[in-house]
Amino acid sequence: MLEKIIKKYLRESATFPLPVIADIQRAARSGIYDIRGFGAKRHLPSFDDLVFLGASMSRYPLEGYRERCDTSVTLGTRYAKKPIELKIPITIAGMSFGALSGPAKEALGRGASEVGTSTTTGDGGMTPEERGHSDKLVYQLLPSRYGMNPDDLRKADAIEVVVGQGAKPGGGGMLLGQKISKRVAEMRDLPEGIDQRSACRHPDWTGPDDLAIKIQELREITDWEKPVYIKVGATRTYYDTMLAVKAGADVIVVDGMQGGTAATQDVFIEHVGIPTLPAVRLAVEALKEMDMHRKVQLIVSGGIRSGADVAKALALGADAVSIGVAALIALGDNSPEYDEEYRKLGTAAGYYDDYQDGKDPTGISTQSDELAAKFDPIKGGRRLANYLRVLTLETQTLARACGKSHVHNLDPQDLVALTMEAAAMAKVPLAGTDWIPGKNNL
């Protein structure tokens, strides 16, 4: 009885809710910041705050299944002799072998290839399995340059210079000792089992002027065949986009703060960068101002989950999107099937974010041979292909509803915002008004 009365009056603090108290206790116990995987978990203004204005009296929709709604996209038309042709505007983002197991990387290649899109290497180099199973593979040039070599550079279909990531703009990579297996260590020229810190800045250029020379070097080495992407975490996106164009990018990848990671400080994930929503608009604004929109292609990532997210990113002016965490979930990450094993690790299906830990029961974010063997790359690849098909169908559904025969014909005028924040960030009117906060000084 007494207990019941007490419970009734227990009141959680808004300043110190239970997760915050647990964080303080964890910090006091361990003396080290929390490192985890996944993306930002806090609430952020997002594509959910936008809706499409479907066709009505003044414009007519396209008939589903009958009237074509094209989804193809070509990347790298500015300088590359061999641009990349994709069947769908959704690519698989760079996730390293090291962060992910060999079979998981293979599954990403299988799934993407099945639906005609590309995958991307990551911090740790290119594995033969990954190259073999990916029809189109983008090779990342990161500050660490682990495994970087001219042979793999030539084997790639495109090169992505990674300046930053949405989860940690201004931060380097981390792969904790428990994931530095013999093979990972060899690929990275490091001793086994040590915490591996990837630098946060490139070793041989410092700004847009020498990045331009660096990109020219990459083009010279590969005889000007491959598209060169520049990937930036979303922060000063308007200026970064302009500088990337100036540095000679064929394609710009902007990764918003929701973007996933394999291992980053929680404080970094949650507090650095801007959300994907304003980032797309800023990048498109910069491209348009330079008369480079659609000439330098824009790929947007960070928290893309559904065809609605894809369609909204495209409507705001992106040429394609890229997915990380969602692709892992499609492979089987956080699957209820593994709930019991997740619970043994002190978490549960749907909450798992310890990609840095190497104990992933699904065999996806691990370097343990035993765990990785549990993951079936063929089935995983099929699930990813299914998911990518659904994203594409959903995107087409929305585009057809707006009367578009190509998903790239979606535009900001097809959108309105449900919140003032989203209206201001995306620069589309608040629903039911013609008000765009900040426009014309209003």
């Binding site: 361990s30 001219p150 020229d189 810190r197 041989d204 020379i213 660096k214 020219q216 070097e217 010279e220």
Partner: protein
């Protein structure tokens, strides 16, 4: 046969393309490149045992990602000479700007003059021999390979070093985090002696060098090291 390309009448892309035409072969032909005049990306991405002589100064990333070729620059080089080299020899008769031999995985880089800051940054197996001195932050995060400095070293030498070996003959302004002096054993004398010989240095004895390496204290996070993170 000697092939001569004058960059006054040909551009760098044309030159690189010609050098790449034999990539993947055992072609040992000799190339002479005239009037580089500080151009960037000269002779990058070679993958054949060519002998390339560049007559004059070059800009950024000369001989970048080199495989097998023997490239000599008769002059000074800009930033990032032999960056990410895999194998072969790059020999600079003058001095080098920043990040010489950055992230290089193999081969031998010889600099007759001085090298600027960040020489051998993040090196991954290359051997670098600098006959003069090197600037600050040299061998930063160096993973493996050997850096031999016949002159002096600037501040923070070998900061956050992994398993690379550093040999210095002259003075060191300061050592970086986790970099310490280590004893020279006979195997070190042997590797150093061979490197000096390969680089054509006959007038310096191995006994004049001191060896530096990683204390390996930063290899796994330890709360007691927070002040250096």
């Amino acid at each position: 046969m000697m092939n001569t390309i004058d960059l006054e009448n040909s551009d760098v892309t044309e030159l690189n393309q010609k050098l790449h035409d034999v990539n993947g072969t055992k072609d040992k032909s000799e190339w002479q490149i005239l009037n580089p005049k500080g151009r960037h990306n000269v002779a990058v991405g070679i993958d054949a045992p060519l002998k390339v002589k560049i007559d004059g100064h070059v800009g950024y990333y000369c001989a970048g990602m080199n495989k097998h070729a023997n490239v000599t620059v008769k002059g000074n080089v800009g930033p990032g000479v032999a960056e990410n080299m895999m194998s072969g020899i790059v020999h600079v008769t003058g001095s080098a700007s920043q990040y010489a031999g950055a992230t290089a995985h193999g081969g031998l880089l010889i600099i007759d003059g001085d090298a600027s800051s960040r020489c051998g940054i993040s090196m991954k197996g290359v051997d670098i021999l600098v006959k003069g001195s090197v600037g600050h932050m040299s061998a930063f995060m160096a993973q493996s390979g050997r850096l031999v400095i016949c002159g002096d070293a600037g501040d923070a030498l070998g900061d956050s070093l992994y398993e690379a070996h550093i040999y210095v003959r002259g003075k060191i302004a300061s050592l970086g985090a986790d970099c310490i002096e280590k004893p020279i054993k006979s195997k070190h004398q042997k590797e150093l002696g061979k490197l000096l010989k390969d680089a054509g240095v006959n007038d310096i004895d191995v006994s004049e060098f001191r060896r530096y390496g990683s204390a390996r204290k930063l290899y796994n996070f330890d709360v007691d090291n927070v002040d250096v993170y």
